[in-house]
Amino acid sequence: MKPDAGTTLSRNPQLNAAGQLTHLLTLEGLPPAIITQILDTADPFVSIGEREVKKVPLLRGKAIFNLFFENSTRTRTTFEIAAKRLSADVINLNIGASSTSKGETLLDTVDNLVAMNADMFVVRHSQSGAPHLIAAHLNATGRTHVHVVNAGDGRHAHPSQGLLDLYTIRHFKREFRALSVAIVGDVLHSRVARSLIHGLTTLGTPDVRVIAPATLLPAEVESLGVRAYHDMRRGLAGCDVIVMLRLQNERMKGALLPSPGEFFKHYGLTPDKLALAKPDAIVMHPGPMNRGVEIDSAVADGARSVILPQVTFGIAVRMAVMSIIAGN
């Protein structure tokens, strides 16, 4: 195959010339075989976490920089644990308090860290597209041995969360091809929802539903291949998987919602609403939860909740992502 400027530019920047995953930026447009490869690879990493010595030597000597331009204790910690279990060296940069506040551009920061022999960047940024910009910069300057993982960018994508959600669903439900999955809550602002929707449709899930008030659904959300419901009871009927989204505090104060109490009444997951789903339906939440806002404690702590297994699987999935991209 002859590479020319046109195909090089239009090529998925996450993939190398051989079509292998070299950055993880979004699940949108990722071939199903690559998503399945990540999920398959995560499985043996789950068992590493159950060992006395929770470490394998795969990324020994690699330097992984956590670049968090937006706060997140949980996601940063799980990436840090994953990198350390792969024997990499992890450097956490508190960006808010350093270079950018002195006026350095994003790409100058990246170039300086590459000059310190960085092997991978785990990037979270409030601006959609920031990890993509870094990956494109590294690709364009021939530094293809340096890899980028998107740990959440703006409202765009949170692919490692989407993958851990997919892993959790596959773990409990085995097969995507017959599932009904309902995603409930603030879909409009949720990169978690967007990544999960792309992952589910790519893997052939026939019935993906989003349930929210009209003010919290993106315009033309159904173009993503989902069905929209405003009535939670109708939306939950007969589903196999319920994914509750976090309602961010700042949304509750805005004009999008009447009040947290009102939201809970209509869209909070309570035992009686859960009873409308299939008897073996599982309940997921990306965390951190707002108990009494989007989910009732009786459900969050109940027998159908797989919220804590999600956390455990999340480390294994991130180990799989980092070890696959660093090897390509």
């Binding site: 398959d40 690879t41 043996p44 060992r51 010595v53 470490k55 696959i324």
Partner: protein, 170 residues
């Protein structure tokens, strides 16, 4: 299409019987057998049933301990290493189908030590094809043969559970 072997491949079932016989007189009664995926795993299960003694069985996938990761990346289809017995103080026989460079065995030994400090580790293989790149030797060998560098000796298992050896392009 398998090419002409330099010498004929042994029958896998006969070689397994030979290996079991050679092990039976010397393997400790309580030694655990740990098979390296995938061929070694099939062999370890079979050997545990026919070699004299009570043998716990474990399985090891060395994907996360290989020394060619930085050149070849992570191999797809990694499986869970499954070792349920206490490794500390155990007598272990690592089992593999073919001993060649010794690199898989090196990786398997390293992984075993992440589970504990075994009292001893021996190595049993169906075929030793020479070509070592590390100072590793098998304790028990059923057959020794030389094949061209561009060929792999592959152990496969049929639906009826019978094992067979074949020669394939490397």
């Amino acid at each position: 299409m398998p090419s002409r072997p330099a010498e004929p491949l042994p029958d896998a079932e006969a070689a397994l019987a030979t290996l079991a016989e050679r092990m039976s007189s010397r393997v400790p009664h309580d030694a655990a057998f740990v098979g390296i995926y995938s061929g070694g795993a099939w062999l370890a299960e079979r050997l545990a049933r026919i070699v004299r003694g009570e043998h716990a069985v474990g399985f090891i996938d060395v994907s996360f301990y290989r020394d060619d990761y930085s050149r070849a990346g992570l191999k797809p289809n990694a499986r869970r290493t499954d070792i349920k017995f206490e490794v500390d103080g155990a007598s272990i026989v690592l089992v593999d189908d073919v001993l060649y460079t010794g690199r898989s065995v090196r990786a398997a030994i390293n992984e075993l030590f992440d589970f504990g400090r075994p009292a001893r580790i021996d190595l049993a293989v169906l075929v030793d094809r020479g070509g070592r790149e590390l100072p590793i030797e098998a304790t028990y060998v059923a057959a020794r043969l030389v094949v061209p560098d561009d060929r792999s000796i592959v152990l496969s298992r049929g639906d009826d559970g019978r094992l067979a050896l074949s020669l394939e392009p490397a």
